[in-house]
Amino acid sequence: MSAPVDAHLDQPPAVTSLRSKDLLGIAELTPDEILLILDTAVAMKEVGERPIKKVPALRGKTIVNLFFEPSTRTRTSFEIAEKRLSADTLNIAIASSSVVKGETLADTALNIEAMQPDMIVMRHSSSGACHLLSRICRSSIINAGDGMHEHPTQALLDAFTIRERKKHVNGLKVAIVGDLLHSRVLRSNIHLLTKMGAEVWVCGPPTLIPTDIARFGVRATSLVDEAVADADVIMMLRIQLERMEGAFFPSLREYFTVFGMTEARLRRARPDVMIMHPGPMNRGVEIASEVADGPYSVILDQVANGVAVRMAVLYLLAGGAEHEAAA
């Protein structure tokens, strides 16, 4: 598959709908579907800049946000996106649910489904949990992060942010630095960036590099300077201490010394480099404060763009899918 040229915003996209009723991961999307979501998000971003930040598009739709893992940014972002589209939203958090009483995921899902929601946005600590739900539920399932597998809306908002600055993704050198092993953001971004024709480098301690990572069409290294050299975009990943069982590196201080993004390291990148981080940030571990708050940082743009991208996904999935219409 050849990399598509990024569409110009004035041209109609090559496809006008998504094939699936669900958004489970970037792996399942075609480059044209990704462009459709990103182009739609451009229009959605404008809605958020109006005095009245609300449109009636999803009036009467019910969306359940089912979060089995703590999340502030993603859950808030989805909820704002849903409200801006006039959907009715319902938040279910693990601490207050029946799961603590022993209910299985499938039973929880079927009980929610019995109340006729139109869409379920789910975050779960198990990889593949959304795929299970998509098989047993009629509602559209949107993956808001499943274990160490995928976090598709994060990769989409990252691509949107890159496109906003650089106009295209094709041909850019993107260095992704940090905890590669535990990161669903990494997996979604690798799928997306390679599909859009970027040159992707991944970098981290050897103990945190998945053994078969080259299979995904990326270059792996443990030398930050090599990854960052002439990079157009640097994405920092959080060290996920909560997912680490065992010692992957000697200490956080040593990690920062070897892999932390500092202004000195940044000088090897292109002068117009963008610094990204999916959050939450560990200042002084993977990223120095002067970089996180510096002129190259687009970290808060990413958060703002997350709402627009999620609005686009919700809107495109709400109408259902073409293959079902034909059935």
Partner: protein, 180 residues
Amino acid sequence: MPVVMDADRIGRTLTRIAHEIVERNRGVEDLALVGVRTRGVHLARRLARSLREIAGHDVPTGALDITLYRDDLMRHAVGPQPLVRRTEITFSIDDKKILLVDDVLYTGRTTRAALDALIDFGRPRGIQLIVLVDRGHRELPIKADYVGKNLPTAADESVQVYLEESDGRDEVVLQQGGAA
């Protein structure tokens, strides 16, 4: 495929509408043009040029995408969604007289959606509707203030407006049995 308006006719019609706008509003003060995407935007920009020639002032011009306000969204549980394009209204519409521009007035549903969308941007002093072609068959109580051409049509006919900016030529065509 009868051509009901050619390039000259479209040009003269827009000039005439521009003069009507100036006459009715006694100038162009407090006026703003908002075109409905896609072809209404091209027409709004042309009217802005005419108004500048006639009155010597620039009239702010914006583009409105009404997709998210359509009344037929989500009517079917499944099916592709219509494409959403960016709305660009960079000026405040508060207390302005808004000239809403569309290419064809038919059922009136697009205009209804456009009115709802506009009101979300503020409280204009008034809204006037400009259309290049009024083909009848209204389903809502909506009437244009400025009409380029009244074109009686049958329900199974369709009116296609082609404009230089998007289609490479200026032409209004009446088609038999087409969907539009």
